[in-house]
Symmetry: C2
Subunit: 205 residues, 2 copies
Amino acid sequence: MTNSLPRALTELIEAFGSLPGVGARTAERYAYAMLKKSASDARKLAAALETLHGRIKLCPKTFALIDSDQEVSPLYSNPARNRQLVAIVEEPFDVLALENTGQFKGTYHVLGGAISPIDGVGPEQLHIPELVQRLKDDKVHEVILATNASVEGESTALYIQKQLEEAMLKSLKITRLARGLPIGVDLEYADQITLSHALNGRREL
Amino acid sequence: MTNSLPRALTELIEAFGSLPGVGARTAERYAYAMLKKSASDARKLAAALETLHGRIKLCPKTFALIDSDQEVSPLYSNPARNRQLVAIVEEPFDVLALENTGQFKGTYHVLGGAISPIDGVGPEQLHIPELVQRLKDDKVHEVILATNASVEGESTALYIQKQLEEAMLKSLKITRLARGLPIGVDLEYADQITLSHALNGRREL
């Protein structure tokens, strides 16, 4: 194989192979497709990758992904969004999933993961103190625990519920997404109707 | 969606979406995976894409893909390869597929496609004159028609067979891959055992 393909292609196939779920055959297919496209198409993807990390940062309020030249997430600064309603999610892309339902007008708080002893993720690695501070600052009325319907997501929701009860935040309503979510499916991959049902059917704890 | 994701991510998702068989969800997954990796991992893929077209050219003899600093394909210049035996394939990656069988010690000639009136590809767009010239120059004993087992591949093989018969190349044996190939499957995706059978069972026309 080293003899039968140019180095540039071998390197590209190897790099594509690091994407999730991409095996040798798929990586070859991607590499050959890029080669068949124009050099400017390949450079477009290259530029998007090259600048990716430099152009993105975390919002200091919500920990969602924002452009590096923004101060806070537009989903927080937008006056049309209700800051007293906060959906707590695990990962930045969960924000996208909830936004796609078009039904949520509150704001978000991204934890940056879920509690998972197996993966070595403890509560101290999640943005929970910042959440408690924010709930006080913004006089939040309701938090929606919108973690994944997985063991880790459930544990994280339970942990946060306890923390918020201990923090004795007055008149804070704690809700969670309805059991409409099929168990074991990550929020990021749930379809929009299921997510809409889960939003509407959320119940108080 | 424009509001809920940084521009850098939206652009990357769009660029990944141009890969074959990659829909919106898969593109999002790839983009997020790249973001989770280090900036240097992202830059590695970026660099491989950036330099791809500049570092690759076609071998002037075999039309296989080679490094831009190579003169001819090592599969042609290697003295261990039999230049009097030539496998005629449609696409550069078909060379890789045949090489992976480990059974072929001849050289290759890449046509650069197959005759397909629907796609507007006529015989004049394939490297057939160069093939005829090469067969004379190298005093080739046998050509193996190793086009795909598709309608286009069959038509192309038939066309080339006629061209070679008209060129009246003395004592040239024309063979084709055995019918071991399942019909409708592209050479590039055939498994190595099937390809080995097809190589060994080739029959004279």
